[in-house]
Amino acid sequence: MIAARGLERRFGSKRILRGLDLDVGDRDFLVVTGPNGSGKSTLLGLCAGLLAPTGGTIDVAADRGEIGYLAHEPLVYRELTALENLDLYGRLYRVPERRERIGMLLERFLLWEARHERVSAFSRGMVQRLALCRALLHEPRLLLLDEPFTGLDPAGATLLDAELEALRGARTIVVSTHEPDRLRELATARLDLARAA
């Protein structure tokens, strides 16, 4: 699903990733760890296609419509309601049976009651849950989650655990996290960027 050779990305004169080789098979569950600044977000950005490598190559066997990406930023419009946000992304991602799918996700992540509220009124945990909905909306074959547990309240974290458990084996999943133990059971592969540097 993902193949990287000598992958390198620099920002200005600073090299964040250097000479990374990586293979992620279809339906693998890769957990990426490493201290801040080691390039976890950069790697996910490269996999998503948001960033281009400045050295080496990366091949991802999924097009844009098949990739679900959860970034550091929630990527939702603060002045729109939850429903409007998901509706917009639903249209752009050509989600079939859009309304039903949105309703289902909102309910699953306990946001149904708040669906007509603007995101600016949401708590941090709610925003993160909405961001997850956005990433999962189009049932992506490749899921890239950048520290998805950050900002989640305990209820949300449990929901995410359940979701990842359900998706494991059915999708290719790459998660970067500070808490590798949480995902120990699910992971089929591990990458520690601190050591890869």
Partner: protein
């Protein structure tokens, strides 16, 4: 025709955002009227209506600049452009939608500016309105692309006027020419040419400006 479906969804989003936050459009309206008032004080007594006509175009271009600086504000602050760029839709749809909403704001601002101009300075005729419409297309097309460029840089609000003004000079020439010259048709034709060339160029190159 999912392309235009995408454009419609994105444009609706932009208009909805403006409706909710209500910061850009009122500012543009106030700005253009204030500028016209300033021009009254800036024009010496024996200036002709022709000079005022020229200044109207300055007002339009700078009001447009104000609107353009805000165009990608939401996307810039929350890195939302990433979210749009990741979607499977054509990136030029983002440009078209944003350009359409910029155009809408411009038209609304001019709906106030032109009557104000007629009130303060000189009457407005059909040629002037036609020139304004044509100019808006060019301004929105080029301005939207440049706003996306500026949004990606550190200097942002500072950079956009520098990028925009040299490209706005032909628009001003076309607009002022259509307003004051004897043969406005030539100038309207020139504006149309500018629109065609730069709209196509902007449409084709927007993808390269927002992706890596």
């Amino acid at each position: 025709m999912t392309y235009f479906g995408d454009v419609a969804a994105l444009a609706r989003k932009d208009l909805l955002l403006e409706l909710r936050s209500r910061d850009t459009l009122p500012a543009m309206l106030l700005f253009v009227v204030s500028t016209l008032v300033v021009f009254h004080f800036a024009l010496p007594a024996d200036s002709s209506d022709v000079a005022a006509g020229g200044l109207l175009w300055v007002a339009i271009v700078f009001t447009a600049l104000l609107g353009l600086t805000r165009a990608f504000a939401a996307e810039r602050e929350q890195r939302l452009l990433d979210g749009l760029v990741l979607a499977p839709c054509d990136r030029s749809a983002i440009w078209l939608a944003k350009g359409a909403s910029v155009m809408a704001f411009l038209l609304l601002a001019e709906a106030v500016a032109l009557p104000a101009f007629a009130l303060f300075f000189a009457p407005v005729d059909v040629t002037l309105v036609a020139a304004v419409l044509l100019a808006d297309i060019g301004i929105a097309a080029v301005g939207t692309l440049l706003a996306a460029m500026a949004a990606a840089s550190r200097a942002r609000e500072l950079l956009l006027p520098l990028l925009f003004l040299p490209l706005a000079i032909p628009v001003i020439v076309g607009g002022v020419g259509a307003t004051v010259a004897d043969e406005p048709a030539r100038y309207l034709g020139f504006l149309a040419l500018y629109d065609l060339l730069f709209a196509i160029l902007s449409w084709a190159s927007f993808e390269y400006v927002v992706t890596e």
